[in-house]
Symmetry: C2
Subunit: 306 residues, 2 copies
Amino acid sequence: MKCKRCGELAAVKLPSHHAGFCPDCFEVFFKRQAETAIRRHGMIKPGEKVLVAVSGGKDSLALMRVLTDLGHDVDGLHVHLGIPDSSDPVCERTEAYCQENGFRLHVLRTAEVGLAIPEVKDAVHRPICAVCGKIKRHYFNRFAYENGYTALATGHNLDDEVARLFANTLRWDAAYLSSQGPTLPGEGRFVRKIKPLYRLTEFETAAYCFLKGINHWKAACPYSGGASFTGHKKLFADLEDRSPGQKTAFYEAFLAQGRPHFKGASRGEGQDTLYACAQCGFPSSGEVCGVCRVRELVAKRKGEAD
Amino acid sequence: MKCKRCGELAAVKLPSHHAGFCPDCFEVFFKRQAETAIRRHGMIKPGEKVLVAVSGGKDSLALMRVLTDLGHDVDGLHVHLGIPDSSDPVCERTEAYCQENGFRLHVLRTAEVGLAIPEVKDAVHRPICAVCGKIKRHYFNRFAYENGYTALATGHNLDDEVARLFANTLRWDAAYLSSQGPTLPGEGRFVRKIKPLYRLTEFETAAYCFLKGINHWKAACPYSGGASFTGHKKLFADLEDRSPGQKTAFYEAFLAQGRPHFKGASRGEGQDTLYACAQCGFPSSGEVCGVCRVRELVAKRKGEAD
């Protein structure tokens, strides 16, 4: 197969785009997809400072790289979760990659705010992944807000977005369907959330990292049972095999024709109102936000153990 | 496994209902599911005459049986398509079954209205299944309307409905999503369309036929490439294996929480208006309806051949 742009030998085959690309032209394709996403969904304003949520995996490192190459003003934030044998090496690898590439990276250690994940796991009787996700989202947003970033970029790719959309659609969850998309506007203490890689698949992000020599962290979190939405991703992979382009078509049709019908859908009586958390001041559905409540549980358990 | 109702040995296992049933209790279950569908979706009014679309396959024969057993006043209509080596034996088998069971069955031969399917296939340059489906829907509705039936029942099962819903959702086709459901109200010359088996799976309908000794036609149409939506059905079968009850949950959540958001969605500018076909008088999106246009093409081709 020949590269669609330059006619040289193709290294990456993309059936959904009826195309193959050589390494250099694949990079051009990758950047253009991110550029299109940013432009079409008003993700980044001129001169805006963007914070990138950096886990150290392929998507977040590819995102740092491509946003920088597109000329945006980005800094990274890595949240160190305090998980033994995992958080330290992930953090070191991420810091090393950023230093080598001249990226500015902030590191926030949840242990320093009373939320080391092993202690959270022992104190909270809910699946740890859901609680950990809540904590990370809280601190990514909070750090951005408190440090003058008006946009927070995450590395969600097309497969992530399609799997989440399918999960929301299976339940016909109107409130979630009304707000799912590549850009979630900022409001009050919520900064704008953007997903510049939403037009690129997991495979394309992995290929980009491989071809660019991005040495990302590959192991799964020791606390998780594997990647989220694995079943839904497999299901859409089969669908894509049968008809290439189906994932993009499903997601883009949702944005153009589906989502508008759910505009303003409520989460249920009294569920839409947000208050300022009495402890941290960040948006909360109750008097005290979920993260501050978890912190209290951890502190209480430690107090009892002492 | 024991029967959930009577404690005898179960013959049919239904993970989505956390139940197994012996043959007699499975029949009770099957009838109740149809009864619930009819009641919840206002399918049949007291004393109403219902026409059942009878292909001769498992779903339509099970539907004739269960509606009769539930005390409804039903007649069948079988459309003989004029396909060599197929339509005659299907029709004979269907007539024999109805006669043995005391069901009244009308037979309409498309060849007698200038629409033998082999001739249609030669005259029309579109996939024959789509055209044949259009012709059948036209005549089922027309026969019902002209003979005083105010409801037309079809044998669509849960798998059919879920696959169709998924296809409409993949395209986020708002107009189709607004009208998909187990009951489509009658209007003008459109009689009410009802799907009393929509809560029952393909497996459950097949088990019902097997246990009741219903000798249905099993071969696929020689013109079709197999059942429709095969890929989508397989996909939802995998999903159901992973989490039993998912098909029902998806479809019922759509009816309760999804469909209302698409109410009144348009098919596009000027696409919603219906006219009376200048030739047959039945609803049409243009001056002459699609079925009358196909009939003209067939007649023209025969005229040229003579």
